[in-house]
Symmetry: C2
Subunit: 256 residues, 2 copies
């Protein structure tokens, strides 16, 4: 890491390093943070940051820290990063829908939230409704538990929200629950998000083997009560099939 084995690109490399540092950090970085992280002299850092800001690759927030610039925002308005995932997952989700008759969901982590990116509706009259983009605390849904268990999302700082008397709010109890879920390959909830609502979910792995999403179903607790094990295993299988698909079809790299 002394001198890159390349030539004629010092300035560009350094500039790119600054941009990459900001984007990967995913939180505003101050001038000093950046200077330290990249190990560049003050004057160089200053000159480059100014140029990058002018070019819209970076931008300063109200407090003067650097964040990803308008070009990144523009890119995000035009590209759905989960498009491919959803496309590849659709057949699997349909099959799960046929298997169980329940509402099927695919969740990923966006920032520090769990979001639903695709859904197949229940065939029953009584079913979970438009779930997409609903913001639900991770520790209270099966999908969330999967993503938590594999470290795709982190628990929020403060108290864990108690949504029903059954919501697990004790961090230690939750840790055990998550560990178990990881061990057996699927997670479940019963009445923890809403009385009467149960969910079961399993991890989906990306091309690098890292967990990128959770595949799950949800429905009325009475209907799922006795099929937990069976559905859990089924989901786990289906999720693994999907993971196989992704391994073959996805772009080279995963998430940082």
């Amino acid at each position: 890491m002394t001198t890159p084995p390349t030539t004629g690109t010092q300035a560009v490399d350094r500039a790119a390093l600054l941009v990459a540092t900001v984007v990967r950090a995913d939180e505003p970085l101050t001038f000093a943070d950046l200077q330290a992280a990249c190990g560049l002299p003050k004057s160089t850092t200053s000159r480059m940051l100014t140029a990058l800001e002018r070019s819209e690759l970076l931008e300063r927030n109200d407090s003067g820290s650097y964040v990803a610039g308008p070009l990144f925002w523009l890119y995000a308005t035009r590209h759905d990063p989960w498009e491919e995932l959803v496309r590849l997952a659709r057949p699997t989700m349909d099959r799960v829908g046929q298997d169980t008759g329940e509402t099927v969901n695919l969740s990923v982590c966006r920032g520090d939230r769990v979001v639903q990116v695709a859904q197949v509706d229940s065939t029953y009259l009584l079913g979970t409704r438009d779930w997409t983009a609903v913001d639900v605390p991770a520790h209270s849904s099966a999908l969330g538990k999967v993503l938590l268990g594999y470290g795709v999302v982190d628990l929020p700082k403060g108290e864990l929200e108690q949504l029903t008397p059954y919501t697990i709010t004790d961090r230690e109890a939750l840790r055990r629950e998550l560990a178990q879920a990881v061990r057996r390959g699927w997670a479940s909830t019963a009445d923890e998000l809403e009385i009467g609502l149960s969910g079961i979910a399993a991890p989906v792995r990306g091309s690098g083997g890292e967990v990128v999403a959770a595949l799950g179903i949800s429905g009325p607790s009475p209907r799922l009560q006795d099929r937990r094990e069976e559905i859990g295993r089924k989901l786990s299988d289906r999720a693994e099939q999907l993971s196989g698909l992704l391994r073959r079809n996805t772009r080279k790299e995963g998430v940082a």
Copy 2:
């Protein structure tokens, strides 16, 4: 535009120009495209593109053309560009829901598609269902007509899909319809997407005055039939209020 009034940043500026060109183009650009677009000598272009690729700011697709690199993708997985819009729009949408009782939707353009980014459900039993992220031809929905009318999305190349006998598939007729919608400030559809389904929508403007989204309702045609005018004007008002909010709250720049 002869010489930028800045100094000591030629390399970075040029590199940034290459990246910006690729991101804004939003389609794979060949080496030659880039060289031409940026007016740089071959050797410089080559050296820089190699460096940018190494830094993950750019990436080459299968056919060797350049596209936005992994850093952009990473950013997109973490940030929802419509988060702010949805947050600001929520109260307005709720109000529209109360006004009309119908399903309320907020749509934007992602790439060349119209996507729903937020929804308030109908209070009626008979209502439009989970609509979010459903892919519907722009010319057959009111929301789509608004975005088409203001040039936020473009019509697809080939034949316009005929979904019902009432779908407008004649480009000239559609052009007139869109012009009228723009003139009066709202668009509507009746049985053009699905028999029995009607929709009404109005444009929402961003901080720069450009149309960035469409606010609309949809419901059974019989229920909307006679209230078209009234709801259209109401929606237009609400959308304008929302636009006012955005003007004050949104980041400096809009869309390219």
